[in-house]
Symmetry: C3
Subunit: 159 residues, 3 copies
Amino acid sequence: RSGEMAKLTQLIDNEVFRAYATYTTIVLLKMMLMSLITAYFRITRKTFVNPEDTTIFGKGESAKKYLRTDPDVERVRRGHLNDLENIVPFLGIGLLYALSGPELPTALLHFRIFAGARIVHTFAYLIPLPQPSRGLSWAVGYAVTISMAYKVLKTALYL
Amino acid sequence: RSGEMAKLTQLIDNEVFRAYATYTTIVLLKMMLMSLITAYFRITRKTFVNPEDTTIFGKGESAKKYLRTDPDVERVRRGHLNDLENIVPFLGIGLLYALSGPELPTALLHFRIFAGARIVHTFAYLIPLPQPSRGLSWAVGYAVTISMAYKVLKTALYL
Amino acid sequence: RSGEMAKLTQLIDNEVFRAYATYTTIVLLKMMLMSLITAYFRITRKTFVNPEDTTIFGKGESAKKYLRTDPDVERVRRGHLNDLENIVPFLGIGLLYALSGPELPTALLHFRIFAGARIVHTFAYLIPLPQPSRGLSWAVGYAVTISMAYKVLKTALYL
């Protein structure tokens, strides 16, 4: 057993894989933060979608008025969904890319730019910054993922 | 080739990795179940969003009345989206955690609590149970994922 | 270091893993394409959800009329969400399946049918094709994922 465990930890000892693990964890934690921001806005704006969530603020008819939508809550939710749409491809394609034997500096460049772009995207969405800030930060993350996908298909293509 | 395959199966023979595989498959199957529950409510409540889906229940104007929203359908869809938002981080961070060499009992504790919390969350959402059942079950799964992320970053951090 | 890298690349040299890498990258790129199609419809239909996105088409009150929903935009977004709901389970369960030591022809059959089903699903959703085209293509991808989950649990079950 300890021999197998050693082989497993070799994966996590590989620098490219460690970089993938670090940046993936960072962008996933960033995505998880969107849940807390949504909850914060829902509570401070008293804006809920589930009747059972309004009971802290009142009973019966008086609570029903909190079943509404709020522009800020909706904005955070759109940012959260955009994260899912873009971080899921990074999670999958990035893992395969990390296993496809890229040079460490090239891999770091991809991971850093992707993580930076998604963090800028979140600020651009939530503040909000004037366009094309959000559009550009989205496109940068998208292009990095396409670049990794190209490397994966070039290395591993087996149809 | 068979030598390589042997190395591959060593991964699946590792107990921590097998536990990760088991609980990840369980929570992903649970998430997939949400699609079936949505379809069940859409059909029994005759509530659709795509015009081409209503043709089994009528043609032309008589079918248009089924293009509507239903509170139960919307509830299941919210539960499904919440699964995506929370199970995607578990999928990615959990994999890296399983490769970061945790003790088997610690890893099992994390995986079991996460899977249990997400199953309770689904019941709390769909029945629905009074709050804070859903909120607490969500928070437990969230905290487990944060704990695994901490271990990944502590073991693998490479910025 | 180079010894570790060699072990890593053995994973990507394994034919089942290469097939998983290829088909996963294909379905993730297909999912990413939904973002471009959404953007295309938003711009050509002048249909936006964020006030800051309308400024290219006008200022102040004249821009507000572009904050609306469009049936084609909503259709693409539903297709995108359906991709997330189905491709995330494939990403996770497919990876574990590829590591569970399946026969190459069996694995290829699973991956090819899943990718084909999701491509048909996208055409069925966007054209749209009459039902049950979309329903059937969805069900085929779903069944393939269940079949892989069964193999993973049979090989790796560790509760």
